[in-house]
Symmetry: C2
Subunit: 585 residues, 2 copies
């Protein structure tokens, strides 16, 4: 592999100059077999010098074009080795974009913003319906205007949208706060000091830090579309203007020591990425996530799913017009490729009524497409039902990661391929693991068929705040309007050899799931927080079958030891007194 030194393209650290175009030229001129080597130091990138490109990003706001710094397009067999370089961005933009690449590694880089696209403030006073917050004007310039708190950056302005409170004594999202921050009216009281008035159902604690969310979800930290064999190694992403790393329509992805964590060089910070950590949608092959840290994120650290789409009109027995429903997931020109397998889902039961091989796929607009199949579309399928692409589903190995405290959950995973989640540490403020799936609201698809969750540690801070679908520390919660006991949405889920430290009742919630084993786990009671969850049973099963709650070990008196069931018979639950070893799974 040939070594390409960035300095030969005029790219030098610590100059303050924007080398975005130099980088892009370097990549264009060496499309194959190159190791790009950087000198350590700081590299700056400005929105003004960015490349503009129309790109459709999964689960991100739809905008006419994105601002790109580094662009690797159609490259093969390449390594971008930052050598410890720090990339600092100015304004909304996408640091690294990979399009149609193969066998590419990005490593040894840090990514941050001069003025991050989220802000922080310290609560100084709180009483009644108002709080006072100090927002360091050097780090996060802002002003109050007509009651709005307006953050200002390098040629951008954005109003406050939402805030999340971090407990400074623990470094975690404060107990029982979650998404409860209200709409506020702002007034400036002095240099950096603001009064925020609102209907505070839970008043923030003076001394605590608010992560102040502004700006839309437009640019991922790293974006990869339609790539194969991509590795990300030893990356520290300290802030983003959207998802952390977004990979879509890719095959075989590898993440090692990729950290979405607050920058702590200049004192304690709580914010890291603007939204999710690793958002991996519509991929295939094997995804490996190992030794990564996620802390201070404003949405789920790891989200693996497909995108389901709605049938708008049956055109003939082999052809239909479909639409992308979720407004943040549009314009996927490669949602299906000829030869891929697509499943037809009943919109109420989410039951597959058959599959077919794609013959052709073409967009009519960013919201609509026509798809034709080699075989006939099942007769029961009609407008309003859904499609999912079964070829674009990956298997996942997720090992020894730290799912630290942040807004929302730990892992979301929805894929029929094998999933192994082992030896991780969870400190999520919502549920630790969510197996979701729906075709009615988020249109994030994927029935699970083979999931092993073993040898993980779930800390007592899990499930200390409320977010959607968090009905247990592990929540198997597909959105199935009318679950069909004979066609369970998820199946083949084994949870064994884990340590759960529980302050509240709900441990495991499962809906529309067949073949569920929970055995050989150790449950310890915590008194660190007051129980608060509306789910009052240890286990809740709704429309499930073949559930085995085997031998588990309890230390201390749990809040509940009940099993609650609905829409199923008791005989579907067995409590066999045997312990399964982790190796047997």
């Amino acid at each position: 592999m040939k070594k390409v030194r960035a300095e030969n393209y005029g790219i030098r650290p610590d100059t303050g100059a924007d080398h975005g175009e130099d980088f892009r030229r370097m990549f264009r001129e060496n499309p194959q077999g190159a190791a790009f080597l950087l000198q350590p130091g700081r590299y700056d990138f400005y929105r003004e010098n960015a490349l503009h490109r129309e790109l459709f990003l999964s689960n991100s706001d739809d905008v006419p074009e994105r601002n790109l710094a580094l662009l690797l397009e159609g490259m093969e067999n390449a390594v971008l080795d930052g050598g410890g370089a720090e990339f600092v961005f100015h304004g909304p933009m996408m640091p690294v974009t990979l399009l149609d690449c193969k066998d590419v590694t990005v490593k040894n880089l840090a990514i941050d913003w001069e003025i991050p696209l989220s802000a922080e403030g310290e609560v100084r006073e709180a009483a009644g319906n108002e709080i006072q917050v100090f927002i360091d004007p050097k780090k996060y310039p802002c002003r109050a205007e007509n009651g709005a708190l307006i953050f200002t950056g390098e040629n951008w302005e954005e109003p406050l949208r939402h805030a999340v409170e971090f407990d400074v004594s623990t470094g975690k999202v404060r107990y029982d706060t979650g998404d409860c921050f209200p709409k506020v009216e702002a007034a400036e009281l002095g240099e950096g000091l603001f009064r925020l008035k609102g209907d505070f159902s839970r008043l923030p604690q003076p001394g605590n830090v608010l992560v102040l969310r502004h700006s839309p979800r437009v640019h991922a930290g790293i974006f990869a579309d339609s790539c194969r064999e991509v590795s990300f190694e030893h990356l520290n992403i300290h802030s983003t203007g959207g998802l952390g790393v977004l990979c879509q329509f890719c095959e075989d992805l590898n993440f090692v020591d990729v950290n979405l964590v607050p920058d702590r060089k200049n004192g304690r910070r709580f914010l890291s990425g603007h939204d999710d950590g690793l958002h991996l949608s519509n991929n295939r092959g094997v995804i490996t996530v190992e030794g990564c840290c996620f802390e201070g994120l404003m949405d789920d650290p790891l989200n693996v799913h497909g995108t389901s789409v709605r049938i708008a009109e049956m055109m003939d027995s082999h052809t239909l017009r479909g639409e992308f429903v979720h407004p943040q997931s549009l314009g996927f020109s490669r949602w299906a490729l000829p030869g891929q397998e697509v499943s037809f889902l009943n919109r109420r039961s989410l039951k597959s009524l058959g599959t077919a091989i794609v013959k052709s796929f073409s967009l009519l607009s960013k919201g609509e497409f026509v798809i034709a199949f080699d075989g006939k579309i099942p007769e029961e399928i009609g407008a309003g039902d859904a499609l999912e692409n079964l070829t674009n589903t990956p298997s996942l190995i997720c090992r020894r990661n730290l799912f630290g405290s942040g807004r929302a959950r730990g892992i979301l995973v929805s894929t029929p391929k094998p999933v192994l989640i082992e030896q991780n540490l969870f400190e999520s403020s919502g549920c630790a693991i969510l197996l979701a799936g729906d075709a009615n609201q988020w249109y994030e698809s994927g029935s699970c068929r083979d999931v092993v969750i073993r040898d993980n540690v779930f800390r007592d801070c899990c499930l200390t705040s409320d977010y959607q679908f968090c009905d247990g520390v592990i929540s198997i919660c597909p959105e199935v309007p009318e679950p069909d006991a004979d066609a369970p949405f998820h199946s083949g889920i084994r949870i064994a050899g884990n340590v759960f430290h529980l302050y509240d009742a709900p441990l495991l919630y499962a809906k529309s799931t067949a073949g569920l084993l929970f055995s050989g786990n150790r449950l310890f009671r915590s008194h660190a927080y007051k129980p608060r969850h509306p789910q009052k049973a240890l286990f809740t099963f709704d429309c499930c079958s073949d559930v085995n709650v085997g031998k588990n070990w309890v230390t201390g008196k749990l809040v509940s030891d009940e099993i609650s069931i609905a829409r199923m018979e008791e005989k579907e639950i067995s409590c066999e007194d045997y312990e399964i070893s982790v190796e047997q799974l």
Copy 2:
């Protein structure tokens, strides 16, 4: 086994009357083969009606006599089943005493005090050199007198001795406070409100709770001396006037679901036992500790050791005069029995210079004894050197316990017999596990030869405060004044398959240890606290040999990845890149 109903002895719950003598009579009249059954409910016991007995308790203050409630003496094949009864004590006394029993089980009981022998107060204000503390006069009556804070109970008064601060937001001993509470001068400001003046190096936080320690360490919650085959099951001990459960000179002990935890019936409480949880000294056979919880203790949850003694005078080649040195461990008339094996230790190196079989042992006073041996005493041994009893050393199985937050460490263990510590959860504010041993200060003896520490979870609150000998989350820290590399104090220690969540550098400290394996562990970085420990390396080895730091897994950037060595050669450390499975240990 015959059923003996307590009601037949006039023992009824919820009367407020003292049934201590009725209990004692019931036990006296049924010395063999009885299951004693209680009705559920509350049983009260008053110091005024206690039995008084001269007893020498290991590691407890020496007093002329102890106040006993229940006494089981010389009993065989008995079960005391509380059936969920709650024993409530009034004044300093020992709830349950077992002397010379065999095959006895005590189960299904709770123990608490009407006015606990430790108190709690809430910090209301704190500034400069004074704090204001509210102490609920109904729960913990007290007054200020000549600057002293005097707690008053049912015919007792005791001055404040010490205090430990609990962080109410986490339920744990507050970070970096430990034993730093100063001597204070008290004044009463109003009903229950006291001003405490002192040299506060770390000012308590308003809103936090202080556990206010008063009273001497006189009465264990449960005391067993010279018993065999004793089981304690399903016990909740919420306060004590000394050690939680003290067993000495016993053989084969079993603890299942024995909890030294705060009572939480009437709101949140932080205090539990006055000192240690399970203090097990000079025992033999197998000790099993499973599924127990320890929270809010004012000293170590589990302490397993022998008592070493000092040689005062060599009387002849086979006989010597010895002395008990630690003022809390005196008068052991059975420190050695004929036929037991005693080791002779050099006081500087703690090296054994030989062993001999005991021929006779007799006390001269509570502080002195004469011991004679079948064989000759080694010639190098003389006055000032030490003896330890090798027969009175137990093996230990410690599994699935919760070592919650409290003052001091998690487990102290010093025994040459096999030790297995597995599947526990540690939240200690000091080090989680201490392998100690000395014959110069505490005279708690026992070189370890075979210790497996596997599959445990060590939370990031471990080692957040300073206490003696806490030089790593696992601290192998015998007090050897002049360690001899050829005669290591401890050996055969394997630490594998554990999860450590580390906010600071020191993970493992070992001194005078040979044969130490640390492999297959997962280390996660925590940012919940600021690093503070004077030990700056991840591993510190002092005068050790045959150390293997094998393949371990790191997630996040640790504070340190260094190995620091002293008084040894680098070649004694190997870093083999292999992972050992927990089963291979």
